[in-house]
Amino acid sequence: MSTPTHMVEMRDVCMQFEEKKVLDGLSLKVAPQERLVILGQSGSGKSTILRLILGTLRPASGSIFFRRHEITRLQRGRLQRVRQHIGMVYQYSALLSSRTVSENVALPLEELTDKSRSEIDKIVDEKLELVGMEDSKDLLPEELSGGMRKRVALARALVLQPELILLDEPSAGLDPVIASVIDELIITLTEKSKVTSITATHEMDSAFRIATRMAMLYQGKIIEEAKPEEFKQSKNPVVAQFLSGSTEGPILEGTLDAITKK
């Protein structure tokens, strides 16, 4: 087995839910300190890729590495330890609804480190400030808007100082100013703290702002992978159509006819 120099590597990964094939021989490499943005239509399997990297889903076949660890083969205890180096921001935030904002952010510190109460409080305040949520410390998640929850989820993901963060639609549902703030935060993190990030999104502005590399997911495979400037110029018809948002092209070919006929 070759030792990967990559932060994350996925080899020939296939994934299906019952009959439905979602990923079909997907391969992907992410280098350290890279900011990869995965683009793809709604339902194309972006969130599934992130879950596979975390190991909360198991692929039907193929292997997935995080640094030297083969996620797909790790025992529970090892997997739990590896996950502490990965931060995940879920698409719908997934905050614990019975805990306040600061309790949510403090949870990984309380459970997984030996830090004292005052150290924990300090880190929590710091991370909440980073995402501009220090005023909402004592609110419950149900008292927050979707965008605010997203930011708390980001603070929670950063609290253990992960090497890799996985962001599922980080700027969906945020206003343009806050969205830029979050994008900038992601960039600072990789530049200052050497964090690697993988972002799944279909927000083009945000994608081009963050990305050092972009990958297009289509029909279960990565069909195009390039630096943002090259990605923009891509000759691939699917990518071109996706970037322009036009209805003409290979995406939706069959479906569109059906819609227009009605």
Binding site: R51, L54, T56, R76, G77, Q80, R81, V82, R83, Q84, I86, M88, Y90, Y92, A94, L95, L96, S97, L107, P108, E110, E111, L112, R156, L160
Partner: protein, 275 residues
């Protein structure tokens, strides 16, 4: 599933096979769930860390235990009353009212106390556990906990299991005392037995063995109810409706299991210690 041309007996056999398979799968599921929870908790303890916070444990004991005392006490009180009255009039015909205290005491400590408490806790707390964990599962909260590298079984399930495990015997005792107290009132009012005499009769008829049996059973019931409720909660599928279905099924399964386990226990017990 079934072959269109299959004869009725074949269909029946297939149906039974299907049910049996599902039943065994469920039993296996709950069994491994308990084993995994223990494993995860012990792994954590081996690392020299507390598996869960004391506050989390006490929150559950308070909700499941202290808050259940009125219900368990009241139901057992009324049942003890009824039992003493009904048996009392029958026994009076033979002039053997003095058997009432022993009858109620033995019936409750050995059997009815744990059983009644089990049924009430399954409905009251089991349902709450399933709904709570089910909602967390549906909202991806459980997955998020897992994704942080925190074991959801030791974090969410272990404190609940431990709380019910220790609470069941306490609540069974509450139930026993309430029922015996109720029967003492009946004995005094209808069969003119003084309290000291009543107590003597209870003491004479109760064996330590009966009490231990009841307590042992209670521990097991607590564990089973919590395990079934949490298992059902964490395996919820299908959104809000799924939480509803699982909660109902959790209560039904827990009650059935408690009664089934009780029967099994009694069969084994009377086989080895017939008296």
């Amino acid at each position: 599933m079934a072959n269109a041309r299959a004869q009725p007996p074949v269909l029946v056999a297939q149906g039974i096979g299907h049910l049996t398979r599902n039943f065994l799968r469920e039993v296996g599921g709950v069994f491994w769930f308990i084993v995994n929870t223990f494993q995860e908790t012990f792994e954590r303890i081996q690392k020299g860390r507390v598996p869960f916070r004391a506050t989390s444990f006490f929150r559950h004991t308070e909700r499941a235990g202290v808050d259940s005392v009125p219900l368990v006490g009241l139901v057992s009180f009324f049942l003890g009353l009824t039992m003493a009255l009904l048996t009392g009039y029958q026994l009076q015909r033979f002039g053997t009212e003095r058997l009432i205290p022993g009858l109620v005491a033995i019936a409750f400590t050995r059997e009815l106390g744990p059983l009644l408490t089990g049924i009430m806790l399954a409905a009251r707390i089991g349902a709450a556990f399933t709904a709570e964990l089910g909602t967390m599962q549906v909202n991806e909260e459980v997955e998020a906990i897992e994704a942080m590298g925190i074991g959801p079984l030791r974090f969410l399930v272990a404190p609940r299991m431990l709380a019910l495990f220790f609470l069941m015997p306490c609540l069974s005792t509450v139930s026993n005392i309430a029922a015996i107290f109720a029967s003492s009132l009946v004995c005094k009012a209808y069969f003119s037995m003084a309290f000291p005499y009543f107590l003597d009769l209870v003491k004479d008829s109760l064996l330590i063995r009966d009490i231990i049996t009841g307590i042992l059973k209670s521990f097991m019931f607590g564990l089973l109810i919590a395990a079934i409720a949490c298992y059902r909660g964490l395996t919820v599928k299908g959104g809000a409706a799924g939480v509803g279905t699982s909660t109902t099924s959790s209560v039904v399964t827990a009650i059935t299991t408690v009664i089934g386990f009780d029967t099994l226990y009694n069969i084994v017990y009377t086989t080895f210690y017939p008296t």
